[in-house]
């Protein structure tokens, strides 16, 4: 479990060519399942805040992520060193422009797969145990659905169509390099005598979604983490 603050900068060309920046509150809940040859990590994140552009216009922004990381350690030890794997990230961002009376709501969603790597460095300092984890992920291939040229509805959305038909007519590919999602985090954990741990994490994430109205965002957050060993 974690909670923290996120510095956010973004641009949705469907609203404006101006950048919107601000601080958002974030919270996460994760679950790590350690097996002999692989470690699976499931994490859900939520963030919300009010962003402002340079002249003072504002929008409300909410982000929801659900990410699954899988790290393999068949040859190397699970407790330290480099580990490679893959991740699946599902992200939805919703924003409402506060100065626009119509078409003030826009969103984007993507689900993408890609490689992930982490480095675990356990060390001791003043007879206390620490673990420093650095991790990077790059989402390469997947799908995306996002608001279209004007308004919330994606391109090709038709109100008369069924949900399934609208999904297949509005979904677009998440293409490597044209669409980007890159993340990096660095976390310092202090292992408590109870086998739980406290952590401090810095993470940065950059997203670019292509299309007739591009979406960009860069967020950086600092979180306090409590890891609890369940069994």
């Amino acid at each position: 479990m974690s909670t923290g603050i996120q510095s956010f900068a973004g641009k949705d060309e469907g609203f404006s060519l101006l950048n919107y920046k601000g601080n958002k509150s974030t919270s996460s809940v994760g679950f790590v399942l350690g097996k002999k040859h692989k470690t699976q990590w499931f994490q859900g994140d939520f963030s919300y805040g009010v962003l402002a552009n340079q002249p003072g216009g504002t929008m409300n922004e909410m982000g929801i992520n659900f990410t699954n990381y899988t790290f393999y350690h068949k040859v190397k030890p699970a407790s330290h060193g480099f580990q490679w794997g893959w991740s699946n990230k599902n992200t939805m961002h919703i924003r409402r422009h506060n100065q626009f009376s119509n078409y003030s709501f826009r969103y984007d969603y993507f689900s993408a797969l890609g490689p992930v790597a982490r480095h675990l460095l356990p060390f001791e300092w003043k007879k206390k145990s620490f673990l420093w984890q650095s991790m990077a992920n790059w989402q390469l291939l997947g799908i995306q659905i996002k608001s279209g040229y004007i308004g919330a509805e994606p391109e090709n959305y038709q109100a008369d169509n069924s949900l399934v038909n609208n999904f297949f007519s509005t979904v677009q590919p998440f293409i490597p390099l044209s669409d980007l999602d890159l993340g990096f985090s660095s976390t310092l954990y202090w292992k408590l005598p109870t086998n739980n741990s406290l952590g401090l994490r810095y993470q940065v994430n950059y997203t670019k979604l292509s299309g007739i109205k591009k979406v960009y965002r860069l967020d950086q957050s600092v979180d306090l983490i409590l890891n609890v060993r369940l069994w």
Binding site: A9, G10, K11, S16, L17, L18, N19, N53, Q54, P55, G56, G57, H97, Q99, F100, S101, N102, Y103, S104, L121, F123, W132, S134, G148, Y149, I150, G151, E155, Q158, A159, D160, F184, S186, Y202, V204, Y206, K208, I212, Y216, R217, L218, Q220
Partner: protein, 335 residues
């Protein structure tokens, strides 16, 4: 260990300073850049260039020549406002801290056809009912309902009071003259009170690309069936100041068989406005959709009436609204 910490600190410094590299900068705030930004957005998203036969390229040439990077905010505003005025569209505005541009020619060049004092003194009088935003009073055996703005929400309970009261009489007049529009949802709510089945009323499409002809496919607009509806004869009064959501309401009512529209045609406003903002913080709006009636006519040009009549100065001098008199006569003939 020390080297790894240094490496991470360098990475941290890199990430905290990289947003100008990975997110495009804000556009420039010089007058020429602001002019270009506004012109381009209108060029890419405005929905009535072809319908109104507007040469937007030519307008750019005319007005860009009047802009230079040394001019002040008011001078720039005047040029931009004049450029937007050429769109001849009441849904086009440029909003700044010191002024709002507008084009109100859609009603200013036409008869008023509405006198609030006469309505208050001789028709609503002192004992009218107020049900939410709806003021109503019996005139002979006909319920006269006055609705000033579609921005005012019509609650289900308020509407039921009006409908139940109307059922005691021989007809209902809904006066939306000088109603400048508001929330389209209220137009649907009010129109649904007069039909017990779904009725197709118009078709709309939205800009979906930068080309002048880039639109979505036409989508049906229908009013849904209401509950405990009023099925007697109805007259809707409109004038040129009936605009935007009021134009949509007139179009909805026009498709109902028991409804007669009387007065002057509505002012239009058939394109739903989209919004934008300029690098200096000014905001603007303009039409981004088109709506046509079932004969293919743009309701941007207004909804035509069934009975065309202007206020007669001789009648108004006597305190009479002769448009309401005509409505009463039509309702009596329909009974």
């Amino acid at each position: 260990m020390v080297n790894k910490i240094k490496l991470c600190l360098i990475a941290l410094l890199f990430f905290t300073s990289c947003d100008p590299w990975v997110i495009p900068d804000d556009p420039k705030t010089e007058p020429l850049a602001i002019f270009d930004r506004l012109w381009e957005d209108v060029n890419e998203r405005y929905s009535f260039f072809q319908h109104k036969q507007i040469d937007w390229q030519k307008i750019r040439t005319t007005y860009r020549a009047k802009v230079n990077n040394n001019m002040g905010s008011k001078s720039l505003f005047d040029v931009l406002a004049n450029m937007l005025f050429e769109l001849k569209d009441g849904h086009v505005n440029l909003a700044t801290g010191f002024d709002n541009s507008r084009n109100w020619e859609w009603y200013q060049d036409y008869p008023d056809n509405y006198d609030q004092n006469i309505i208050d003194e001789n028709y609503l009088r002192r004992d009218f009912w107020i049900s939410g935003p709806l003021k109503h009073q019996f005139i002979n055996d006909v319920l006269y309902v006055n609705y000033r703005s579609f921005s005012q929400k019509i609650a289900k309970g308020n509407l039921q009071v009006v409908l139940e009261r109307a059922k005691l009489g021989r007809g209902i007049i809904i006066d939306v003259r000088n109603n400048g529009g508001g929330n389209l949802g209220n137009a649907y709510t009010l129109a649904s009170a007069f039909t017990d089945s779904e009725v197709l009323i118009a078709r709309e499409r939205i800009k979906n690309g930068i080309g002048m002809d880039d639109f979505s496919s036409w989508e049906d607009m229908s009013i849904s069936a209401g509950e405990n509806v009023y099925s007697g004869p109805v007259v809707v009064l409109t004038n040129r100041r009936s605009y935007s959501a009021t134009t949509f309401f007139a179009q909805m009512m026009k498709k109902l068989p028991q409804v007669t529209i009387i007065g002057d045609q509505t002012g239009g406003g058939g394109g739903i406005p989209v919004f934008g903002e300029l690098p200096n913080g000014w905001t603007y709006r303009f039409s981004g959709t088109q709506t046509i009636d079932l004969d293919g006519r743009q309701i941007e040009d207004g909804v035509l009436v069934d009975v065309r009549i202007d206020l007669n100065p001789i009648s108004t001098a006597k305190g009479e609204d002769n448009i309401i008199t005509t409505a009463l006569r039509v309702l009596m003939e329909n009974n």
